[in-house]
């Protein structure tokens, strides 16, 4: 059996159908990593792209992400301890002085849907927090969100702090948020800027040169 029905169910956000299809795929002999990569993640890539193109809206994106999470619950027991292959590790947080989390949460959810492992620092995360976590888990990407123009300077400070700690070269820095721009990303020497949760995934894969 192919995974088309599963992909469609995730795209539609139909949790019942998607869980059933996941179960069928398992019973048909697909291995869990394949169901994840070629079924769930493939579906979420489509969801992200459709959102970026304005073909679907936030509620549909959320629903699909929730659907995928429910399917993961079916698959998780079938993976050997620690054997799920992740696309990479991402630290994400809203910067110091800023309590807005909606955008950050959407990005985090879509990155997870794409197969990344997320480490969410929450809101009001200082440069020191980002550095500390980066030293601890050695991420591929450090992602920062800000909704207030007055808190954007914290993004610059975090990039500086990563340099001071000698780890700037080991990570890619991605920034986003309503007042943030491509221009600002260049100014503070971030690696990239993403305007929404869908394009954040696309950009993440681009800068890490992965599919």
């Amino acid at each position: 059996m192919d995974l088309k029905a599963l992909i469609e169910a995730v795209n539609k956000g139909d949790i019942t159908a998607a869980k059933a299809e996941t179960q069928h795929a398992v019973e048909a002999g697909h291995n869990p990593q394949d169901i994840l990569d070629k079924g769930l993640i493939t579906a979420m890539d489509e969801v992200g792209e459709n959102f970026s193109k304005g073909k679907i809206f936030i509620p549909q994106m959320l629903r699909s992400a929730k659907t995928m999470q429910e399917c993961m619950k079916v698959l998780e027991p079938l993976f050997q301890e620690g054997s799920v292959t992740s696309k990479g590790k991402i630290i994400i947080g809203t910067v110091k002085g800023d309590l807005h989390d909606i955008g950050k949460n959407l990005v985090s959810m879509m990155m997870e849907g794409a197969g990344f492992t997320m480490f969410d620092l929450g809101v009001n995360a200082s440069p020191e927090r980002f550095v500390q976590k980066a030293q601890e888990i050695e991420p591929d990407i450090v992602a920062m969100s800000a909704l207030l123009s007055t808190t954007m300077p914290s993004m610059r400070q975090t990039v500086e702090a990563l340099k001071q700690a000698g780890i700037r070269g080991k990570v890619k820095v991605m920034i986003g948020g309503a007042p943030v721009t491509e221009k600002y990303a260049r100014e503070i020497e971030a690696d990239c800027y993403a305007p929404d949760a869908g394009s954040a995934v696309i950009k993440a894969k681009e800068i890490l040169r992965i599919a």
Binding site: F57, I58, P59, G97, I102, V123, T150, A178
Partner: protein
């Protein structure tokens, strides 16, 4: 119903560009248009100017007030921008806004008590955004108490219950509406205020959603609103709803607006 005209905000590209090139007549025109459409305050926001926010905000204050004889709503989270802008402001401004956030409350309290002004009190807590009606009422009450203790009269306080998008959580509309009703009930004489556009973030047909939200806010007791007064359909909705809520004697405002061609259902 107090109307704050929202258009002069550098998050709008044409405004940002006009501020960049110090285009007096462009900004003046936008101010005038809002004043003529019925705004009581003109909001000015130069957040997108980043490090140059302070000088841009002062320029906006002078430019707008050289054209319209209205008080302004000084819109910034930056205490220094607000205190500098107040020095250039003629009359009593509205300060948008103070909240319980650590980096905002302490620095801003002396600013809002330094001279007579109206204050928007945003229901943002110290460590997190409010989730429920109860969270909002708790933060709002705390803000009202601290501000009145500092000598600000209740009627000069405008509580903003914080509007979040329904696209992310379909309970966010009633969370805001419930908070408005509770605060108006718990503190008779206080004002409430909010902007409309957050509610529709992430959805299509935003204007429809925003004006529907306006109607609901009004029916829950909202006493002031930040909106685009040049949006005819929005203003027509405002007039119709105020009339239905028995705030328009002999339907006078509505009929006058109709006769002046300002009620457009087209």
């Amino acid at each position: 119903m107090i109307i704050v005209g929202e258009k002069i905000n550098t998050s709008r590209r044409n405004i940002a560009e006009a501020v960049e090139r110090r285009d007096h007549s462009y900004v003046a025109e936008v101010a005038r248009e809002q004043a003529e459409a019925g705004a009581h305050y003109i909001d000015v926001n130069s957040g997108a100017c980043l490090e140059r926010e302070v000088e841009c905000l002062c320029w906006l204050v002078e430019t707008v007030q050289s054209e319209v004889d209205l008080p302004l709503c000084l819109d910034s989270p930056n205490p220094r921008a607000l205190s500098e802008a107040m020095k250039h402001h003629r009359g009593e401004p509205m300060i948008n806004s103070i909240s319980l956030e650590a980096e905002r409350f302490q620095p801003l309290l002396p600013v809002v008590t330094s001279q007579p002004c109206h204050v928007v009190a945003l229901c943002m807590g110290e460590t997190a955004m409010p989730a429920t009606v109860e969270d909002r009422v708790e933060v709002g009450s705390e803000l009202i108490n601290r501000l009145t203790d500092a000598g600000i009269p209740l009627e000069k306080i405008y509580v903003d219950p914080l509007v979040k998008p329904v696209s992310v959580d379909t309970g966010m509309g009633i969370a805001t509406l419930g908070a408005i009703a509770r605060i108006m009930n718990d503190f008779p004489g206080v004002n409430t205020i909010c902007g409309l556009s957050n509610i529709s973030f992430g959805l299509p047909e935003r204007r429809l959603i925003n004006r529907s939200f306006l109607a609901l806010c009004l029916s829950h007791g909202l006493s002031a609103v930040i909106l685009d007064p040049s949006d005819k359909k929005l203003m027509a909705t405002l007039l119709a709803v105020e009339m239905i809520l028995n705030r328009d004697e002999y339907c006078d405002n509505f009929i006058t607006a109709y006769e002046a061609g300002r009620i457009s259902d087209g």
